[in-house]
């Protein structure tokens, strides 16, 4: 079986979930032949990093039109890679880009598609995938048709990152002539909103606060803790709606979905719409004065205590532990 991994990169930074896709591919089929698709512009540094991972082939499409992400040229370029690689299965990160690109690729190629997968069971030539539905209140198993290409985006942090090996496969360059009609949409600018702090979807640890932080200033105690842990800061909708944090940090049904190794919830009640965005986290810690708060139903560890007392204490404990 040939599995093609979409090695998402932006501005020369590989998406953190890409190396996890190698582990997913090996879990699906131990003797899978792994191919990699790398799209963008001026890709040499990213390509050099990728060459350390166990791929039989790396296909690169390096073109000025691919500098910033746009769905149509990307889907055309990825389709060109597919024609060379002839995979049975394409894996992408379930990131904004992966989730934007995969449906177009499926529509274009007639493939069967599943989004945000967390487990895979091959069954003959078909593939059974498991994915969370109803905001994590249930899981569904989908059977992807045997006689078709299969495309799956994989939920970040479901599989461990593969370790680099001594592999050194050459990059095969593919040339694509883009149809003018697919270049109508312009991506004028990619502007960071993170002002130096990590985004909630990218961090291994997320420190989140709720309405109970009372104002924007008080979030400082969470930022200080996050700095020690190299974590991102998140917030409930109530905290974002009140203006304590920008909406780009909202976690939940109408915010972002996060699946970090560790999610620390400070003064967050655990409304079902908040759980929707974070219940897939590996380990959940809740700090809430109310023992009945629903957040404790999904938490692994709980401290029934005041967040304003706990956050600075935890900061110094972690500082001691991590030697910072």
């Amino acid at each position: 079986m040939i599995i093609l991994i979409f090695a998402e990169q932006r501005q020369g930074h590989r998406h953190g979930a890409v190396t996890q896709l190698f582990t997913a591919a090996q879990a699906i089929s131990a003797d899978a032949e792994i191919h990699v698709a790398l799209l963008g512009h001026q890709l040499n540094p990213v390509a050099a990093e990728l060459q350390k991972y166990p791929a039989a082939k790396i296909y690169g499409v390096d073109h000025a039109e691919l500098e910033l992400y746009r769905p149509q040229p990307y889907v055309q370029a990825l389709d060109a890679v597919l024609k060379q690689s002839k995979p049975h299965l394409v894996l992408l990160p379930a990131s904004f880009m992966g989730r934007d690109l995969a449906p177009r690729l499926a529509a274009r190629t007639g493939a069967a598609l599943a989004t945000d997968c967390i487990a895979f069971t091959p069954q003959g030539d078909s593939l059974i995938v498991t994915r969370p539905v109803y905001a994590g209140k249930a899981t569904a198993q989908l059977k992807l048709a045997a006689d078709r290409l299969k495309i799956c985006s994989v939920r970040p942090n479901t599989f461990a990152a593969a370790a680099p090996t001594s592999g050194n496969s050459a990059v095969e360059k593919i040339t694509v002539n883009f149809d003018a009609a697919t270049l109508r949409l312009k991506n004028n600018q990619w502007a960071s909103t993170s002002s130096g702090v990590k985004d909630v979807t990218e961090a291994d640890i997320v420190v989140s606060g709720g309405r109970s932080l009372k104002n924007a200033d008080n979030f400082k105690i969470l930022y200080e803790l996050a700095a020690v842990l190299d974590a991102a800061v998140g917030a409930s909708r109530a905290a974002c709606d009140a203006g304590y944090q920008p909406h780009s940090r909202q976690v939940g049904l109408t915010g972002k979905t996060v699946t970090p190794k560790l999610y620390l919830a400070f003064g967050i009640d655990g409304a079902i719409q908040h759980l929707a965005g974070m219940r897939g986290s590996k380990c959940i810690v809740a700090i809430n004065t109310k023992k009945e708060a629903p957040i404790y139903n999904v938490a692994d560890y709980g401290c029934v205590a005041d967040l304003f007392t706990m956050a600075p204490l935890l900061k110094s404990e972690f500082q001691n532990l991590l030697g910072k």
Partner: protein, 261 residues
């Protein structure tokens, strides 16, 4: 400008989800059904474009769904859409979103006039797929911008701002285009009682498979074979003691037991 908004009926986000005895569906008895929240942004955005003086000739709402799904088309009409289309045929229901997108594309192409702007939600909060918007754009061979949080239109020129990991992207395109709507784009209105009454008189057409020649050639690529409750978490371990002791113990547990720091 002619605008199409594509909407789905889903269980309210507060609903408790129980798996039905069949093991492939959820219990629907007593379930509160609403318009998918991201689709409310789509309908609201269309109406606001008209209210803010864009030359909007027509706003149409379209769904594929069972008989009950007509309710959300009435909601869209009450919010301000002009007419609605309901693809309502048991043979066309599926959990394969790419299949549904192909049917939607066919239904759209059968309309007497094309749409300059198609608005969908970012994702439906039942299956959480987020597939139909981009797939539909591909079937219709038109550009799309996903997860739009800001929109400006002047003449045929459209500017959309979209949210991605740690950044925003500023996209620009000449119509026609398709956008998937994300929270932050606008605040959906509640339809007023008089508007709910008026909505009953607006046209709502039902389409069966027979009204969509060619639909029989579209095939399903995937099938839902089982549903389960989520894997149970192991339960919460409460750390006890004075705050300082709690902090120490919690950090120890995270290092030694959970091994996450």
């Amino acid at each position: 400008m002619r605008i199409l908004t594509i909407v789905k009926q889903v269980p309210d986000s507060n609903a408790t989800i129980k798996i039905a005895a069949s093991g492939t569906a959820i219990e629907t008895a007593g379930l509160k059904l609403v318009m998918n929240p991201f689709d409310e942004f789509a309908v609201e955005q269309a109406i606001q474009l008209r209210e803010k003086g864009q030359p909007v000739e027509e706003i149409v709402a379209l769904t594929i769904g069972d008989d009950k799904a007509a309710e959300i088309l009435r909601t869209a009409l009450a919010m301000g859409a002009d007419r609605a289309l309901h693809v309502c045929d048991p043979t066309l229901l599926s959990h394969d979103e790419v299949y549904l997108a192909e049917i939607l594309a066919l239904a759209i192409q059968k309309q007497p006039q094309p749409f300059d702007l198609i608005l969908t939600g970012k994702q439906a909060i039942d299956m959480d797929a987020g597939e139909i918007g981009p797939a539909l754009a591909e079937f219709l061979n038109r550009p799309h911008v996903g997860a739009v949080v800001g929109l400006e239109i002047s003449g045929k020129q459209l500017k959309a701002r979209r949210r991605v990991e740690g950044a925003e992207e500023y996209m620009e395109v000449e119509l026609p285009a398709l956008l998937t709507c994300e929270k932050g784009l606008c605040e959906p209105r509640y339809p007023s009682l008089p508007n709910l009454m008026k909505a009953k008189k607006k046209p709502l057409d039902t389409l069966k498979a027979a009204d969509l020649p060619g639909v029989e050639k579209i095939s399903r690529r995937s099938e839902l074979v089982a549903m389960q409750p989520p894997a149970a978490r192991k339960g919460c371990k409460f750390v006890e003691g004075e705050p300082a002791q709690m902090a120490k113990e919690l950090v120890r547990l995270l290092r030694e037991e959970a091994k996450v720091v």
